[in-house]
């Protein structure tokens, strides 16, 4: 199988370039990450992140044939050759397929991704009914791989001011949580022209999410709640 991989080592290269690799393998049941590790056996200068290799940690997010996804759960057989691999778009490249996620996590932290509850902790747990818990489905599963946010043109343009789909999905995850007491403050925080409202419903986020989550829908719910408390 043929691969074209984005290579860039800021210490040695003046500009990024695409390097060709050829592997003598059949796609079979292999995932893209398996192939990348075989390439790394050939050429150990190739750098990439990986950890759990089963779509849980979100480390090996990259741009695969023009589409963001996780290498570890992308079947080789689903890819057109030559397979073009690039780092996630819109973030600074540290080396090869590794990007600097600082801006992504800064936005994530800005939405206060933790439960805010000022009541004294109960003996056991803060309980929810099954119906209340149901609201968190489709939100808590996010693994913060960054596929959605780095596919979003609004984030490309305003990465310092627009929270991005991953951050907004998490914002709604805590807004929707009945145990959280900071709903009003969370909505206040998002009510400016940039943080939430730079979303123009492009829906690249929904298209690429490897966990099949729907940030656009979550953003819509946040807008609904803002409208309801305003009118």
């Amino acid at each position: 199988m043929k691969f074209k991989v984005y290579r860039y080592n800021p210490d040695a290269d003046t500009a990024p370039y695409m390097q060709d690799y050829d592997l003598d393998i059949e796609a079979g049941n292999m995932m893209l990450l398996d192939a990348l590790l075989l390439i790394k056996e050939q050429d150990d200068s190739l750098s990439l992140r990986k950890s759990c290799r089963e779509g849980v940690c979100g480390s090996d997010a990259m741009n695969i044939n023009g589409r963001n996804g996780l290498a570890c759960i992308t079947p080789l057989s689903s890819l057109k050759q030559p397979v073009e691999l690039r780092p996630l778009p819109g973030l600074p490249v540290i080396r090869d397929l590794i990007v600097d996620m600082t801006q992504f996590f800064k936005q994530y932290h800005s939405i206060k991704p933790y439960l805010i509850n000022n009541d004294p902790p109960p003996e056991t747990e803060r309980l929810q009914s099954p119906e209340q818990r149901e609201h968190l489905n489709g939100l808590y599963e996010c693994i913060l791989c960054g596929c959605c946010t780095t596919a979003c043109p609004s984030f490309w343009w305003n990465p310092d001011k627009f929270v991005g789909p991953a951050g907004l999905l998490q914002a709604y995850r805590f807004i929707a949580d009945t145990r959280d007491q900071a709903t009003a403050e969370r909505l206040d925080d998002l009510e400016d022209p940039y943080r939430l409202f730079r979303c123009h419903t492009i829906m690249n986020c929904v298209d690429v999410c490897p966990k099949e989550l729907n940030p656009t829908e979550a953003i819509g719910h946040i807008k609904d709640m803002m409208v309801k408390r305003t009118v």
Binding site: T102, W157, K161, D188, E191, D192, P193, Y194, R195, F197
Partner: protein
């Protein structure tokens, strides 16, 4: 050291909502006007003046144009916010756009009621 970005203006929701409402007004008016014009066997000066002699048509035309102007203001301001970074230049452009849109509003009233 990452610069602190101050974004505290609380008009995001209001403008988003206004853009949606004005879009609905524009859609209704456009469809209604186009429907009316398509149903006319012949389109001429008399049909056109007769249509705009009614107070109701003038009123809704003005409402439509105001919707266009406000909708355009939000859209243009968003574009300026994206492409023009120095606050001084941005303010000047914003003021010019607002003045132009206010002038268009006055002009629209003159056209609709000045015949």
């Amino acid at each position: 050291m990452v610069n602190r970005v101050v974004v505290g203006a609380h008009y995001g929701l209001r403008d988003w909502l206004i853009q949606r409402v004005t879009a609905v007004v524009m859609a209704f008016y456009s469809v209604a006007l186009m429907g009316y014009l398509l149903l006319q066997p012949s389109l001429n000066y008399d049909v056109w003046t007769a249509l705009f002699s009614g107070l109701l048509v003038r009123t809704f035309t003005l409402l439509f144009l105001l919707s266009v102007f406000y909708h355009a203001w939000i859209g243009v301001r968003d574009i300026v916010m994206d492409y023009v970074k120095p606050p001084g230049v941005r303010l000047v452009i914003h003021v010019l756009v607002i003045l132009a849109l206010v002038l268009y509003t006055i002009w629209s009233v003159q056209i609709l009621w000045g015949m």
